[in-house]
Amino acid sequence: MSEDPAAAARRQIAALGPRGWGGRTLADADVDALLRTAPPEQLAAGAVLAREGEPADRAFFLVAGRLRASVALGGAPDRTVNEIAAGEVTGESALFLTGGRRTATLTAVEPTTVLVLRRELFRPGAPNPALVALESQILAGLARRIERTDAQIVEAWRAASGDAPPSRMGLLAVLEGTS
């Protein structure tokens, strides 16, 4: 008999330990409360979770498995710009921007479980401690991406001669920094 998805997700979250919550330890009741509002979704290897260009209205907390983020650039073959590991959140721009679209396609690299995070959960109100931990984790991840992107723009600027624009390769590196 197959395991109940919520029970499986609870077990996978327990296996993540504090790294799923930015180093914090959460009570089981807080995790259960999160699972009631953010249902788990299971994906087989190769399944597409979200497609580039689609309206974006939810994010995903990866509790097991691995996702690949890829983009299509001007008719060229899809380019992998990031891999998302268990314990990470992806697609978070959908939570804090309205009217956005997916900037990358997310594909399961192996059997994968995500919790689906809807925008309404993140409006200031009476948040679950698990959501506060996820917000803090998202914030730290965004800050790292901004710092990395800033460094890569500066690097591309340095690599270009004089006031010449950065090379395409330089810009691709910057794009990977933002992803």
């Binding site: 804090f96 993140f122 401690p129 794009l175 992803s179």
Partner: protein
């Protein structure tokens, strides 16, 4: 600053980050804990490379954002206009200023020590929630705009795109570019 003024500034900051319907009282309470500074035109707010010791709310006025170019000279990349959160990376432990900021007009800022900001961000209460949302919204918008601009540039042709570093940096820092 009077409680009414703090409430008005909190309302404007929340509205600028898609929280027009949120209660301004918690954020007004945060602003009340900040040090208020009045800057004259040309006065330095912070310098690129310095430790980011404060989270700064620009309540009135405008600040110019400058970034060192490869020769080491400060190059203007854009401006922040009130109401805005300036230098949000201070919320991250050990962060350094990624750009310099100078008042481009008489301005009023409210500065919260970075350690206080980090404690507030970990707080599940309404003030922590509003501050987290503002930062998350600002960071997300900056990255989304930068990514979109990069994708536009890279999708245009396979040849070297005419990228403008200043525009990329302005988008990443959430600054508006002045018309040239």
């Amino acid at each position: 600053m009077s409680p009414d003024e703090l409430g008005r500034h909190a309302e404007r900051l929340l509205a600028a980050h898609a929280l027009a319907d949120a209660d301004p009282a918690p954020l007004a309470g945060v602003l009340a804990r900040c040090a208020e500074r009045r800057l004259g035109t040309g006065q330095l707010l912070f310098r690129e490379g310095d430790p980011a010791g404060e989270l700064t709310f620009l309540l009135e006025g405008r600040v110019s954002v400058m970034k060192k170019d490869p020769s080491g000279a400060d190059r203007p990349i854009g401006s922040w206009f009130a109401p805005a959160l300036v230098g949000g990376l201070a919320a991250v432990e050990g962060a350094r200023r990624s750009a310099s900021c100078v008042a481009g007009a008489p301005s009023v800022v409210a500065a919260l020590p970075a350690a206080d900001a980090r404690a507030l961000l970990a707080d599940p209460g309404p003030a922590g929630a509003e501050l987290r949302f503002i930062l998350l919204s600002a960071f997300t918008e900056a990255l989304a705009n930068t990514t979109q601009h990069l994708r536009d540039l890279l999708g245009e042709s396979a040849s070297a795109p005419a990228a403008d570093v200043g525009r990329l940096l302005a988008l990443l820092h959430g600054a508006k570019q002045q018309p040239t």
